[in-house]
Amino acid sequence: MKKRILLAFTLILFLCISLISCANSTTPNDEDSAGGNDENSNSPTSSGYTVALDLTKEWDKVSDTELVQGCLIVNKKFAESHTNELASFLSDYKNSIDFIKNEENINTAAQMVVNAGILPNVNVAKQAIPRSNIAYMDGAAMKAAAQGFYNALSLNSPDDAFYYANTGDKSLASAENQIRVGYFSGTTGIGMAKMISDADSKYTFTQYDGPTTIIPAIVKGDVDIAALPTNAAPNVYTQSNQGVQMLAINTLGVLYVCTNGTSVSSLSDLAGKTIYVPEQAPKLVLQYILERAGVEAEISMEYNLDTLPNVIAQGIVTIAVLPEPKVTVAGNLYAAAQNAN
């Protein structure tokens, strides 16, 4: 009997060991902590983590449409009855964006963004804000840019009723009316940081976890205006029986090609390489740009938004496309790893 127990025990041990080793053989995190630091010091030509290409500029080079990744949407019922208040809001919003965009205000702007909970700390904010291409577009310009963007990426492009025409008169705005605005952490919220800091009694700002919670909120009418990635807006429009409208564009492109251990100075340098992208939006944008520029490269979605910054910072992959603020986060991870050496 004892012999059989021993046999069974060794069988279990063998199973466990094989399961664990099978799992470990493909873990990126484990591999790098042993070899990552070595790579950086051994390869003489490796240039460390670099933000190599601005995909917004690359997009503009190959297309006459614009890359617009962040916007504000408004609840349609609210918009129909509050045109003047919205005109006033948009005017204040434009001022807020102009303030934050201004390079001289970067320190104040960074602090405002952090106080609003939009970015994690001032260090990240100071680097991410300039790279987030904050811009203001409304009315006809917004409609043209958005339609160009949707058509370029073959996303479903809504009809004209989707776009809010800013026809109100802000001088007629009733001072009583409260506008409730929702935002979440990330580049789509940066533009309103000054308004949040000014704390005008006309506006109430609520922070949400992300698109998942903000979308039902604006569709149900818990908030009147919400910040959202541009690619999500048409689907919200269709799925809510046309219950929302696009109010303004607040961010151009936020995507960058980042390299670690290889040198890329132009789009053509990407030919024949493998580029890692974390999710659908970066993948579609990159594919569009590469196609228009006639550059052939392999695109891999092996790592997602949580793991890719780590992976590129440690040099496990050499070329990645990341959105802000992940671009800055990856840079900080790399710098921290270098300092720890």
Partner: protein, 256 residues
């Protein structure tokens, strides 16, 4: 006609029950009238029908089923062997019990996050499925073996049966009801936990990834519900298949 109704009354009643569910769903969705939050059943079924024609659907479903089945099988083997060892030796049983208690007590989501760092997105659902099955199988095997009829064992000793003959006549008949019941219980759990793991870590080419994608990129609740229906359907299919297996065992008699 009447005899037809009588013969097929169980399936007919089941279908009627399911139809009532769909009707209630439709009424709720129509009343709420925001497809983003609660889509109506017909568009969801249409979306599901469209999905069935895509290669991505079958690839994701196939790989998810494969992953979780592998994990469940591994958990089954580990749990079974641990159960046998625990039944054979009290020392082993007491040594193993803290481990299995911890596994039973920890919430699945905790395990997912903790193990993600070590195991990586691709293999995590396998591990989680194994983790769900192993403790239940161990307890089931242990209880089964412990419930062997003492008198039968004495008789076996008197007749000087070999070890294998004892296994066949005493241990196996006692073990099988408990072990199979444990298995039927935890197979649903393994499937649900495995899909949850896939959603959280976004395993590539998996049902969980498709669910996450439908929610985050497409903002498409209809698609989301369609995938959820798929998950529910496969879970029910698994349970049904295992019950069938159980019935076959019972009919053929447990004595090998």
């Amino acid at each position: 006609m009447k005899t037809l109704f009588y013969r097929f009354r169980k399936p007919l009643l089941l279908t009627a029950g399911a139809l009532i569910l769909f009707l209630l769903w439709h009424i709720a969705a129509a009343a709420f009238d925001i497809p983003l939050i609660l889509p109506k059943p017909l568009p969801v079924l249409k979306a599901l029908g469209q999905l069935l024609g895509t290669a991505v659907f079958w690839k994701s479903v196939g790989l998810s089923v494969l992953r979780i089945s592998l994990g469940a099988a591994a958990g089954l083997i580990v749990g079974f062997l641990a159960g046998i060892l625990s039944a054979a030796s009290d020392t082993v049983r007491t040594l193993l019990s803290p481990l299995f208690s911890v596994i039973r007590a920890t919430p699945v989501a905790c395990f997912i996050i903790l193990a993600w760092v070590f195991i990586g997105s691709a293999q995590l659902p396998v591990f989680i499925a194994a983790l769900m099955v192993a403790p239940v199988m161990m307890t089931g095997t242990l209880t089964g073996l412990k419930s062997t009829d003492g008198a039968l064992l004495e008789a076996a000793y008197l007749y000087r049966l070999t070890f294998f003959q004892r296994v066949r006549t005493c241990y196996l008949p006692a073990l099988l009801p408990h072990a199979t019941a444990a298995l039927v219980n935890c197979i649903g759990l393994a499937w649900k936990a495995g899909i949850a793991a896939e959603i959280i870590v976004k395993t590539k080419d998996s049902i969980g990834y498709a669910i996450w994608d439908a929610k985050s990129w497409n903002v498409d609740s209809t698609l989301l519900f369609a995938w959820t229906l798929t998950v529910i359907f496969i879970s029910l299919l698994f349970e049904y298949l295992f019950r069938l297996l159980l019935k076959l065992r019972k009919e053929s008699g447990n004595v090998a």
